[in-house]
Subunit: 365 residues, 2 copies
């Protein structure tokens, strides 16, 4: 087991103690990658890492034992296809030495059948999800994670700029996306998602990049991210093909001000909802409240979306080392969508933006 | 909504009636793609299709409503990030008009937090997974699905052959995998997985294709699949670089005989476990029983792994139109792994193999 995994398992046990947790159950997911450095073959065969106060072990399909053994020295409770997982799980739970009515944390991303297999084996368990255990730890990045996220963000600046530089009359959204992805690939990174929206397409927050062709007078929204050395990037910038309309310029000013308000509000000790409110108030006061239908931000680490989430109701208290997006947007049906997104790491004195690309409109002709 | 979706929803309701099911809950998954033709943005925001006897509707994050609306005209019960999904789910359940203690089917692939959100809202529900409802329907392919699976299998023959043709001294597993993937891409298909194992690497059923270089006397195992027009392929063939050893030839003969025994056993009305037993008996009688640690096969459709599963204990009764793999294998640590895999569709008189590539050892020098 790597030093990182040893340290993270130790940190998880400390956190379990602080939160009165008897068992943490993790499926094949980024949670497992984070805690144990293991990314096992994921299919319908139940795989779980169970961490209790004194024990840690894997429920593992027999045919994955050898390949997984190279990555960890935690014990495997193996099961064969013709036996099914019940007996191996019972052995693992016995080794976990849980109290009556244990307090159990379930990896919320686990398949429903994995989770219900475990919960059916633990009648009387009090369950919750990983927010205050694995999620708590993952939200606070160490220096090694910061370095990787920073490098990934700087590459994303280049990729995004390549997208705007590719704009020309008649080009399709998909062609622009390809130009962006080429930048990731040339740097040895993996494209994760690339959303390119021309004109009214940008008014759907999750528009699928397609065959729409660029024409003069179109707003352009690019939201893209790649994965470099295991860590993703995620940034949104907007441009205009031709001279920006007065309405576009006005909305850009409002959204940019919302970003700045959120940056000013984000401090260690502040609730996530206060950052959402800071951005939302700017947009609401400008009269666009109904056109900002989503939360202000999400955490980013091994996953593109992870805690902390910056919503209108989140009581999560922001802490030093947290990495998250600030991405207010205004979507005007039939016209354009305008979102500006930064990824920041929260320092003692406020957020540090990871990318270097300005938020100004990228104007091309 | 497409005609296909109308027909499948009707077939699902008929099946719900036959199985006494009051509600089927489907997450963003191939189940949803199959039933409703919808593949919504999948993240941590709960999305569910709930089908009851008289109603069908989606729990849907507000920001995905517009893009999803283009694909279906079923009603959306939308929720915004700052409200959370509880109220929208309550409305959807009210519209579903369920009886007391309803019999509920949960998509087993759904995230644990989606499933528990629903189950917590339905205290007293009797739950099971999709095997005898959506799974039942998906296991029986119609002609359109057969045509796509057949085309995908024939492309896979070409891809696999390109892999064996790429063999030369010193080439790496990854380089052979790249040659295989190029064939999918040139045909407009998407590589799904490509496992290339040289020598002893083949003895790990889920070996990760890597930098191992080919040398004379190595067995070669290629297990690969691509997705063409929405439908995948999956086939395993073996080769030898140089003159096959006597042991390899003997094991090949045993595994091929196991495939043939399974093909002979698979008939409509037969239990899946009988097909597994037919293959396993051949291998056990040849003295290799302990080296065949996995099930004999899995269904294949929109997913590479789906029902029916051919295990030693599966009571699933095979039926006309089912598509599944037959893939016995023998894994000799330190020496080689030898698996032969066919995808078949079950006809009234027995299995029809979808691919045309023979199972003979591909010998190269």
């Amino acid at each position: 087991m790597s030093n990182t995994s040893v340290q993270r398992l130790e940190a998880l046990r400390k956190r379990m103690h602080e939160t009165g947790t008897d068992l943490v159950a993790i499926g094949p997911s980024s949670h497992m990658m984070y805690v144990a450095g293991l990314d096992p073959h994921g299919d319908e065969r139940p795989v779980m890492l169970l961490v209790s106060r004194e024990h840690a072990g894997f429920l593992m399909p027999a045919l994955n034992v050898d390949s997984s053994r190279r990555k960890t020295d935690l014990p495997f409770f193996a099961w064969r296809d013709d036996d099914g997982p019940d007996a191996a799980l019972a052995d693992l739970l016995k080794a976990s030495a849980l109290p009556e009515s244990p307090s159990v944390v379930i990896d919320e991303t686990m398949r429903a059948d994995f989770a219900l297999l475990l919960l059916d084996a633990l009648p009387g368990a009090k369950r919750r999800f990983t927010d205050d255990t694995v999620g708590f730890l993952r939200a606070r990045k160490d220096n090694a994670e910061y370095g990787r996220l920073k490098a990934s963000a700087l590459l994303n600046d280049k990729a995004t700029l390549a997208g705007f530089d590719a704009l020309k009359s008649g080009i399709t959204e998909l062609e622009v996306a390809a130009a962006i992805r080429d930048v990731y690939k040339a740097a040895g990174a993996v494209p994760v998602f690339t959303s390119v929206c021309f004109g009214g397409n940008g008014a759907f927050p999750h528009h699928h990049t397609g065959e729409t062709r660029l024409k003069n007078g179109d707003a352009v929204l690019i939201d893209t991210g790649g994965r470099l050395d295991g860590y993703p990037s995620d940034m949104t910038r907007v441009g205009f093909f031709g001279a920006p309309s007065a309405e576009f310029e006005k909305v850009h000013e409002v959204v940019n001000r919302a970003v700045e308000a959120a940056l000013a509000a984000a401090r260690p000790g502040v609730a996530a909802k206060a950052v959402d409110k800071a951005a939302r108030d700017v947009i609401t006061e400008a009269g666009y409240g109904e056109f900002f239908p989503h939360r202000t931000g999400h955490g980013l680490g091994i996953d593109i979306h992870e805690p902390p989430y910056l919503t209108a109701t989140s009581e999560t208290v922001l802490d030093e080392g947290m990495v998250f997006s600030i991405e207010p947007g205004i979507y005007l049906p039939g016209k354009f969508g305008l979102r500006l997104e930064e990824i920041v790491i929260l320092r003692a004195d406020g957020p540090e933006i990871l990318s270097e690309m300005p938020r100004a409109t990228q104007i091309r002709n």
